[in-house]
Subunit: 347 residues, 2 copies
């Protein structure tokens, strides 16, 4: 398999991206890479070009660039060229740590949607940190769309199901709808409609509404939500975890010798906790609903995270999730059209 | 001042409610209470009836009751009778740890909206746990309305401002709009409209969009949001904090003697952290936009939280926030009507 890499995106690009790609190349013997970016800069950091092809990109889409406009006008940018390589079948997946909006736009406009999916959704894997079933779950959408319709959320459930089933290897994954209460009639009209659609779908193991309070307790294997709420919830979880770690640190520092001694004794424990909450170990956010894996990792990612994310992309490709989702959508085109029509007619 | 108390609501009612009211009575010499509930049960737990009047309520609204229906049909319930006492001017505020929906419905339908407010919003005070300005902030709406319009969010900003200014004593409180990015054009059309309304309002110290990741860092003194997102964010913060505390506990328990010894050394530190994150110290959730303070505390509240919440209600009454908000709304009735019309006409 071959992965098209935007070597220029991210706070530590191209250095840490290239370092990460070399780590991944050494770890995964069946993966080849195309590195898109400024050839001279890439060559400065690349130690060994085995299974790594460098492709010159004259332009870079910056973090502050307006995403859709940048993808339309910067035709020679590393993001546009890498996405184009995937579109043309030269590479199997697209990876970047750059401008999120531009990555989503490149996925949508260059690589293109799967037939049957109206809007792709952005997916993040999060840890289950408590409870006996500690593991992980997938949340979709975490911010591809700020304005989401009933049909989109329904389709997120299908995409999330294939991700959990094929990539996370969860048999018959439990799908939950993020809502402000567990009862079936919770939320606004749109949430009630999505709830009823999912409850009626025999191909989805729908467990009903789940509340954001229970996510890290493993409420569901797939949590579906509109992109606005998903984004707010993801950032709340992240912010609260970071604040608590900072709070622990500052309390210890101001807690005198006894506290500092205690912290020393608990060093491994604190390491375990930070690692439990650190979801970059699962890789990046995946844009589902497009024809090939489009994966974005945090702008602040360093080499180990880049390597993990390549491992995740490899699992996605190996899992054939996109082909399986495609087959399902084709086989059930009539049913899905009926659902679409029923939403439109307001039934 | 006199507070009407639903003695029957909450997991530990009436015992812990009554215990808490007695603690509050002993702490705040200028407060009188009306306890609504089953007289015989109340008498069983009440130790001293100084400044506490017992009023018989034959019915109880249970946690599982459909809120609006329960308020309409259980006319002799402790919630309905307590809210009616406030409506009739016999008491100055309403307190309950019972069925949230029923409390909101009683506030809305019995006590009634302030003129100029279209929908009341539920407010929670949360801690700022990091940064040099550690303090607290108020978030509104955290779940009174699942389906919120532009005008409602704009009015939340006004109500939140008066809460921060009068009750939290913050001069010229910074108001932020919860959004999925800090740029002015973030979010869906409704968020952009609210953003522009707030930015144009010279009476609101609007600092722009804030992201949920930054809330506990003290991004704003007042965070305004629709009730669906606010509820999801509040529960995410709560869930993440609880999960991390559990994670710390289980890591220590499985970490061997060294970890247990370290934990002993850090006992005070962990106590400080749990107390930093425990927002029940600020009291309960306040329904703003109704004619008198309606305050709901967690169903699981025990006596100390009940006492804190009474302290909070006392501060709200002393602060004259409702009278001040009322004066503002009356004085600016023309401006507010203009804003309402401009939203309706889609300008």
């Amino acid at each position: 398999m071959k992965i098209a890499v935007d070597a220029m995106g991210g706070d530590y690009a191209p250095k840490e991206i290239i370092k990460g790609i070399e780590l991944a190349r050494d770890a995964y013997s069946n993966v080849e890479f195309q590195l898109f970016g400024k050839t001279d800069e890439i060559k400065q950091f690349l130690q060994n070009d085995s299974r790594i092809q460098i492709i010159q990109a004259d332009e870079v889409i910056e973090m502050g660039d307006e995403p859709v406009k940048a993808v339309r006008t910067k035709k020679q940018s590393s993001i546009v060229l890498a996405a184009t390589a995937v579109k043309e079948g030269e590479a199997d997946a697209f990876f970047s740590a750059g401008n999120t909006g531009a990555i989503l736009a490149a996925g949508l406009f260059i690589i293109g949607r799967i037939k049957g999916i109206d809007r792709p959704g952005l997916t993040t894997t999060l840890p289950v940190v408590t409870g006996k079933d500690a593991g992980k779950f997938v949340m979709i959408d975490v911010g591809a769309n700020a304005d989401t319709k009933v049909l989109n959320v329904y389709q997120y459930a299908l995409m999330g199901k294939y991700y959990a089933q094929n990539v996370h290897k969860v048999a018959n994954p439990k799908v939950g709808l993020l809502n402000n209460g567990t009862e079936a009639d919770k939320g606004d009209m749109n949430h009630r409609k999505v709830h009823d659609l999912l409850a009626a779908d025999k191909d989805i193991n729908f467990i009903g509404n789940v509340e954001s309070r229970e996510l890290l307790n493993g409420a569901a294997d797939v949590v579906v939500t509109d992109g606005f709420t998903g984004n707010a919830v993801l950032k709340s979880i992240e912010g609260t975890a970071l604040s608590m770690l900072k709070l622990i640190k500052s309390s210890i520092l101001s807690g005198g010798t006894k506290a500092k001694f205690g912290a020393l004794m608990l060093k491994n424990t604190f390491g375990d906790i930070a690692s439990s909450m650190d979801y970059s170990k699962y890789g990046g956010a995946v844009l589902l609903g497009v024809k090939a894996p489009v994966v974005k990792t945090h702008g602040s990612s360093k080499a180990p995270t880049v390597k993990n994310t390549i491992g995740q992309i490899r699992e996605i490709i190996d899992s054939h999730m996109i082909a399986d989702l495609n087959t399902y959508l084709t086989d059930h085109a009539d049913d899905l059209k009926q659902i679409k029509d029923s939403i439109k007619s307001g039934k």
